[in-house]
Symmetry: none
């Protein structure tokens, strides 16, 4: 039986593919599972994608593209950060993290798939690319913080970078498995606090404590009124 031409066929297939990929991994997902989930025929799949792998890459790309845009924007903003007072810095840092983690939450399913290797070894290198990128960015930030005097001067940049990146990495891996959206702001405030304590000068730590206390109470007020 032929179905009425559906202009959403392609997106229906993508949505279904994502679901099935997440459930069974790239290799474990059968094209027929995907098309059945999209209420389309197997043939339709090949009208829209060259191969199964092709569909996977497309799904992946859409998530990575959005994340890439955010990261690039943040990178540009950073150049303008110099000499801001601590509280502003801390706020901006937090906002940046929030944007990234919101994006992760939005694409949590594929991100999880990639993070947990479900995309078959073919896509393992992606984790490296991301992890390395995160680590380098972090190291640059740490370096910058030391130069600006708000991070301790005795830090080993590489180690500190790894440690901080690790904290966020862990958070990302946790987020990606949550069923309901957690209070991202609270999560990030927590990590930030610990990072700052680990790396920061006493002045920064003090500033941090104040900003966080304020932010937390605001956040609580927002939640109450909502």
């Amino acid at each position: 039986m032929s179905r009425p031409s559906d202009p959403n066929a392609r997106s229906r297939l993508l949505a279904a593919a994502e679901r099935i990929f997440i459930e069974h991994g790239l290799d474990g997902a059968k094209v027929e599972d995907i098309t059945r989930a999209a209420s389309l025929s197997k043939g339709a799949f090949y009208l829209h994608f060259k191969t199964k792998d092709d569909a996977f890459q497309e799904i992946l790309a859409s998530a990575l593209a959005e994340l890439g845009v955010i990261l690039r924007e943040l990178e540009e903003q950073r150049d303008a950060w110099t000499d801001r007072p601590y509280p502003v810095l801390i706020e901006q840092w937090l906002d940046a993290d929030l944007r990234i983690f919101e994006c992760l939450w939005k694409h949590r399913s594929i991100m999880r798939l990639v993070l947990e290797g479900g995309g078959s070894p073919k896509y393992h290198h992606l984790i490296d690319v991301f992890a390395d990128g995160a680590q380098q960015t972090t190291e640059r930030l740490v370096q910058h913080g030391i130069e600006q005097g708000y991070y301790r001067a005795d830090l080993d940049v590489k180690q500190a970078g790894c440690f901080v990146a690790g904290g966020y990495d862990r958070l990302a891996r946790r987020l990606v498995r949550e069923r309901r959206k957690p209070n991202l702001e609270r999560w990030l405030l927590g990590v930030e606090a610990l990072c700052l304590r680990a790396l920061g000068t006493p002045e920064l730590i003090e500033a941090c404590v104040n900003v966080h206390a304020q932010r937390l109470s605001e956040s609580a007020r927002r939640r109450r009124s909502a």
Copy 2:
């Protein structure tokens, strides 16, 4: 006497299997690839393992068993830790971490496979089991530290636990990908220092700085003389 079994056949197969599994994942690895890499026939594989999965589990088990032993031993020692002076505590903590990470290094290839999900979705749960275990252990330690007064009293146990576990998790994921063995002691001293700064009371932090300085110089001396 029968044709003497190649006494290395089994271990050659295990080594080859590990290599191929890592390269292609559990599902992607073809039995024939494994046997070819071990210079044996397909049939020989089934002389030693019931199924492909069986071989994978065996490889996994040998790593997990060793790790399990270490973790259990450490757990038992911990009961005797109460009331030790800070420097001793810090040393013991470091030694424990060293044992664990030495074990991870020894089994890095298979650990990497598991950590990166290459064992097909069937083995995803193992990561959870380990991650949850690590997190809980960490939380217990944090709780204990707070009670004993060497961790700050205002810590959120869950968040701190997650953060610390994340730092080590990241370290493990990095270790597992290194080609040459890094200076584990230095790595761990670094993470420990950052963790203690993030969580510890000023007294603990001070003790930590001293112990670490001493340890690092000893380590450096050992390396020079070697």
Copy 3:
């Protein structure tokens, strides 16, 4: 519309499967042989049957189902047989046998496979089930005949049942191997005559002789005019 399924694909496969099963037995038959004989690809086989065994069972079931229907109908009719005059009884008996043996002829190839154990030991029990059923039915008929007075009173029911069932069993095994359809009526008249002589009272034997003579001449006339 999809590529229209070859409407004969399934039946072509069934026919080919039957042929190959008969030639090589269930275990010896290769799926590829079957599909080649049906001018289809190996994959096509699995579009229609879950497994090779499944196909075998389907072939078997279609034959057994038809036979089962006939046997059940006959069983029901038998209740109405009491007190009929001998000639009628003999005619009805013959008609029943004819229906059964026509069915056997129709499904001779698969019946032969089962009778000769070609369905691998897994299906041996089927022969028992049928043989036991036939034997019991026969014994019940013998018992009934003794009670009604048309079988000799000195018969050992079990032995006589076994003997008669054996006669028919042999006939069935022979039929199943014939290349051209034999004159079933003549065959069955023959067995019936011998059975009745072996078991019957003089009166029954006499009635039998008359009925058979008449039946044979009718049958001959039909054949001449055809």
Copy 4:
């Protein structure tokens, strides 16, 4: 470990093979099963038999050879039967049947295997050979009986032969499945009686009744004293 040279190795293998063949059929029997059952190595099997099939044929041959000898002897005796009085004929007939069925009992396991097709389709033809042989022998006997006047003159030789052979065939198939040796004499007396009634002249039937009665009572006496 090498075993002490065992002069019975070959026969132990044959015995084990027979057991395993019977249990699983020719195709289903694994060489390793056989050698394990014989407490020998797989290699040993191939010292004594060229192939698995070879072993099967040997087992089969030993049974068929013995049966063949008996059948040939009986055939020779038959030439001397002419003109014997009925009671002697009947006795001799019975004795011949007894020898054959004793032999069947002795080799019941392989006979069963062959009869039920467990020897894979490759050996189906053997059943034909036997069945045809039995049928022909029977037909010759029927013909002879008609000529000598102790079988009814109106018999269709072919049909009667088939019927009688069928009766014995059924008996053989039953025997071959018994777990404990039945009273063969009684079984055969039963079939003989029915056959004679089906085929014989009134005089023969009468003679038969007497002989059988006597034989049964003798048999009973023997059993009591044993």
